[in-house]
Symmetry: C2
Amino acid sequence: MYPGLTMNEANYLKRIGKNIKELRNSKGISQAELAYRCNLEKANLSRLESGNTNPTIKTLFKISKALKVNIIDLLKM
Amino acid sequence: MYPGLTMNEANYLKRIGKNIKELRNSKGISQAELAYRCNLEKANLSRLESGNTNPTIKTLFKISKALKVNIIDLLKM
DNA sequence: CGAATGGTTATCTTATATGATAACAATTTT
DNA sequence: AAAATTGTTATCATATAAGATAACCATTCG
């Protein structure tokens, strides 16, 4: 998706959450396990995956490392 | 750059700041002008460009829209 | 020269991401 | 069936991103 057309901030947060959930499921690990690997609270990861919070770059960076993917993969629109 | 090798969080924040600054300069606009277009404080944008803060996705999303680039361009390592 | 412009840094306030914990429902497992 | 697992949501505390403002320093421009 190209920047600026239909995507708004709220939808983008939802998209990022879905990206994380898909990548996590493709690796076959639970939220609790991923949260542990990232040093994040499992409640926090649940909030992120449901798009109900506005994550910082550091948080996404940690998740990308734990999933062994490029951070870009979390941010695709 | 591939995830997980040499890049740490602090260096990544610096890199993002440099990316923003380069893109902004390539468009020939000042920090004050970009901050205005993003509805950000110019002091905040200065902090971001110097890598001294940990931006949220919403903030980067606003900047990418104002610069008319893909958010991925701000996040390249 | 003084006045504007561009960027940085400091301080304080406000909003909110995250930590920490708990309770809950729905599955899955034994 | 009971117990464990998985994910969600709620609450409260804490840390910090961002707002708001101001004071700087350099540089540019009149």
